[in-house]
Amino acid sequence: MRELADEELMGMVRDGEMAAFEVIYDRHSGVAFSLAYRICGTRSSAEDVVQEAFLALWRSGARYDRTRGSVRTWVLGIVHNRAIDALRRNVVHDRRRASDDGIAERLEAPERTEAEVAQRDEAREIREALQALPEEQSRVIELAYYGGFTHTEIAEMLDAPVGTIKGRMRLGLEKLRGALEGSGVVTAR
């Protein structure tokens, strides 16, 4: 079972095969939790988001369409949407970056397998590519993607025209894509 590709496992999840769902969970829960924690800022909110996302996957696995991307991308899309929804409901805004001191350190993923080492390396490359962007571009991307802010909100926060903000987003994503294509993280189209 653990040797099967995600797409094959999703077919089994659609048929209600619990063991396949377990494998999907084990493969993607780490990065899902990491993303939810980055957005929500507290462990309890991140756990709620991940739980909702995977149960949504279990209950609606039939909606997965392999032609629209990988299972990981699909799962992380669900996690991102739910985490941003939680932020926008102000459920977690007040608690962001509040008092989960040390949790990130305690949950830091160990590097135990080649796949985990590769994933850590990939994460490092992506972070470096983001950091290499001009600050005004990386800032608008982070505020939008991890912070859940709209371009109009960001424009107000940064006291800049809306068009400027959207332009920075486009330039930033173009540069990010170019850098990650160069390192093989993103496939050229």
Binding site: M18, V31, F33, E108, A109, A123, Y145, F149, R177
Partner: protein
Amino acid sequence: MSGQTEHTARSDDAAAYVLGALDEDEAAEFGAHARSCPICAAEVARFSSAVAVLPLGVRQLTAPTSLRRRVLKEAASDARGGRRTRMRGLRSWPRFAQAGLSGAVALAAGVVIGALLLAPGRGPTTLIRATVASAAAWHAAGQPVAELERYGDRGQLLVSRLPAAAAGKVYELWIERDGAAHATNVLFEPTSSGAADVDVPGDLNGASAVLVTAERLGGAKVPTMAPLIDAQLPS
């Protein structure tokens, strides 16, 4: 507006769209446009490949073991057309974080509440409900719930609703063998939500219990109080 000018503007919209940064109405309008415009559809696809890797760029953490248990338990008990899975027949119990202990009465010790999961690469997991001291023993109000998750000779103590230790104190984990509590040098504090998942170091074979006390900062060599949490291991 000429076609070229329009698509210069729309290219900016495409970036904001894939970042989820357009207002709701704008996103709906642009999404409808992109479905009929191959130029914008290509822009969306191009930017999407960059946005798709953003989740992988965050600091990578390990999802808590307790979360895995909760998700799989919920999925197993989920009503999906009456279908039964291999986990369906197992005993279910309330969500750990919501499991209530009524009043201030400690639970009976060492209740094995389920052989629940096959965690990856580590064999069957047994959950042992721990005895928790009565309310008067705790520094702050609240009634913690604690379970020891044992897999083979390893274990993890999972606690919820755990109040912060008193000022100048910290929680310390002990392993009991031959009637004596041995220091593990594991000191911990709960999260702001009262959760603590604590790995028990070393081998649990031959151990009779996993205990928690509140000790001075830096820990103690021997317990200075009766256990606040006592997870008795079946012999």
